[in-house]
């Protein structure tokens, strides 16, 4: 059974802006799925329609085999959502936020307390359970929203930019936690700006741009479409000027650093040999960006020149 089936989904807002132009999307049960796209591409609108917070203009959404139009209540009981922006009461304690959410799902106080303790501990918030939520850091607020989304133990979890603005350490531990709950059977759909996050966590990826899905498939199949990678080479000793090398797509960044594009057909050893012929010794090398980011940027550029520069803020960190 599919966890999520979206067919010809359209959304036009009151001001005439067409946020979704008939998208199709399938997510298998147990999958860890990423929906990527630049700002305003339609990611949050899609999540909003799935969670019934945004009304669709046309198309259909089936969640866990149920039609969202006719089985909204059953779907809500099996769906968890971590929204992009903080949406809990800022005047309540962390524990109360979870207990209230459990109450909205009709979960009794005893079971709610046990689950709240479990998820607050797993997400490192148990010591802060009596802290007023507005005093939490941005990263901990996002973790609290993850705990809240899990309080009714949903089968499908939607995460809309769950680690935006979160420091690296907290982000990595959040990834570990998400991997674990996915291993335990929860299907996860993630939207993110951090392409490293999608590459690290997800098995299937869809890229949405201007309300249309422009790429969709298994991560490894998508990455196989990447014909070249850009590397940064750190040199052992400085060079004044880069010698002419007609067979290499290479440029000098500074006396100690070069940037080289290596095609899939090319051999990295051949590149090093060419450089050493000119007495240029490489001490280390690294990817300029992660591979998914490179693919993402190329696809967006192919989808329209107005995208150029819009996704510069998208980065792996």
């Amino acid at each position: 059974m599919k966890a999520l089936e979206i067919n010809r989904l359209e959304k036009t807002y009151g001001n005439g802006f067409q946020a979704l132009k008939g998208i199709d999307l399938d997510v298998d049960e147990g999958d860890f799925f990423a929906l990527l796209g630049p700002n305003g591409a339609g990611k949050s609108t899609t999540i909003g329609i799935i969670t019934s917070l945004v009304t669709k203009t046309a198309g259909s959404v089936r969640i866990l085999g149920l039609d969202s139009g006719t089985h909204a209540t059953e779907i809500k009981a099996r769906l968890g959502i971590v929204p992009q922006e903080v949406n809990f009461s800022l005047f309540e304690t962390c524990l109360n936020i979870l207990l209230n959410q459990a109450g909205y799902y009709g979960i009794g106080r005893k079971q709610a307390n046990a689950r709240a303790e479990k998820y607050l501990k797993q997400l490192g918030l148990w010591e802060r359970r009596n802290q007023i939520s507005r005093t939490l850091s941005g990263g901990l607020k996002r973790r609290l929203m993850i705990a809240r989304a899990l309080i009714h133990e949903p089968e499908l979890l939607l995460l809309d930019e769950p680690t935006a603005g979160v420091d690296v350490e907290l982000r990595r531990s959040t990834w570990d936690f998400l991997r674990e709950i996915n291993r335990n059977g929860t299907t996860i759909v993630l939207t993110t700006h951090y392409l490293e996050e999608a590459e690290s966590l997800c098995r299937k990826i869809a890229i949405i741009d201007k309300g249309s899905i422009i790429e969709y498939g298994h991560k490894k199949d998508l990455l196989a479409k990447l014909h070249s990678e850009t590397f940064i080479l750190d040199l052992a000793s400085p060079i004044e000027k880069l010698p002419d090398m007609p067979f290499l797509d290479i440029r000098q960044i500074d006396p100690m650093t070069l940037e080289v594009v290596i095609n899939r057909e090319q051999n990295a050893n051949a590149v090093f040999e060419m450089l050493s012929e000119h007495w240029i010794i490489v001490s280390s090398m690294r990817n300029k960006t992660n591979r998914l980011e490179e693919l993402f940027i190329r696809l967006l550029d192919d989808n329209g020149p107005e995208n150029k520069g819009q996704h510069e803020g998208q980065h792996a960190s």
Partner: protein, 258 residues
């Protein structure tokens, strides 16, 4: 959702509402107690003896039911309007919207919160009134209790609709300032409409608050400017209309969905 789960959801919303208005008691409970005490001191104690008897009772006794009702109306209304708008503003209304709670349970939860605050404030103002008029003998406890509850429900529904349509914090004070307060003051809280010229008596009969104040006064003192049955029918009709409208708008997603 099975009934026991619905009840847990309903209880959660009420508990949250009570916790909210008790946490900020200095903004929700105390001002009503102070301002109503001032009404008793100024209108009842200082001006009242010069006015003399009204409707067969001292002026202080005559205005006490109206002042209690005024505090109930204001607090039931403002509790729901500010709480529901606050939930929309902070977006934690989404916590309920993504959960499998029927809209009528959400509405019932907020309305119950408004009713409870109205009752608590009404009780406090009643205790304050007793300092001025002594222990009142209640003419009809049934009418008193039913009118208080029905009026609280009605104005909680009004507050809910205000909270639903408000776009900013100014919007939730416009209706109380420009509609509710004039209607309350012109609703026979401080005078009997028998004192008004005929034309103004007729105009006053179009004010729904007049019926609530008078029905409540009738329950306590046994005197009223209007028929009690008419008061009950009008209140129940308003409740039916506003609750239907609220549920319709919730289903439509007004103010809560994009």
């Amino acid at each position: 959702m099975p009934p026991e789960r619905l009840f847990i959801a309903y209880r959660t919303i009420i508990t949250k509402e009570i916790t909210r208005f008790m946490r900020i008691w200095s903004q929700t409970i105390l001002p009503a107690a102070i301002s109503m005490a001032l009404y008793f001191i100024i209108f009842g104690n200082l001006i009242g003896p010069r006015i003399g008897v009204m409707g067969g009772f001292s002026y202080m006794e005559f205005i006490a039911p109206g002042i209690i009702m005024m505090s109930i109306i204001n607090n039931a209304y403002s509790n729901v309007s500010s709480s529901f708008f606050g939930a929309r503003f902070q977006r934690h209304i989404e916590e309920m919207l993504v959960a499998p709670i029927p809209y009528w349970v959400i509405l019932a939860g907020y309305i119950s919160g408004g009713v409870l605050r109205g009752l608590i404030v009404g009780l406090i103002v009643t205790v304050i009134a007793m300092f001025f008029i002594g222990l009142p003998s209640i003419y009809s406890p049934f009418i008193v209790i039913s009118i208080v509850i029905l009026t609280s429900v009605l104005f909680s529904l009004g507050g809910f609709l205000n909270g639903m349509f408000a776009n900013n914090f100014d919007d939730i004070s416009i209706i109380p300032t420009f509609v509710l307060t004039p209607l309350i003051y012109l609703g026979g809280v401080f005078y009997s409409i028998d004192l008004l010229p005929d034309i103004w008596q007729s105009i006053s009969l179009a004010n729904p608050i007049l019926y609530m104040v008078n029905a409540f006064r009738y329950g306590i003192l046994g005197v009223s400017d209007i028929g009690i049955h008419v008061a009950f029918i009008i209140i129940l009709l308003f409740i039916l209309a506003l609750s239907s409208l609220s549920l319709y708008l919730l289903h439509r997603g007004t103010g809560i969905k994009t």
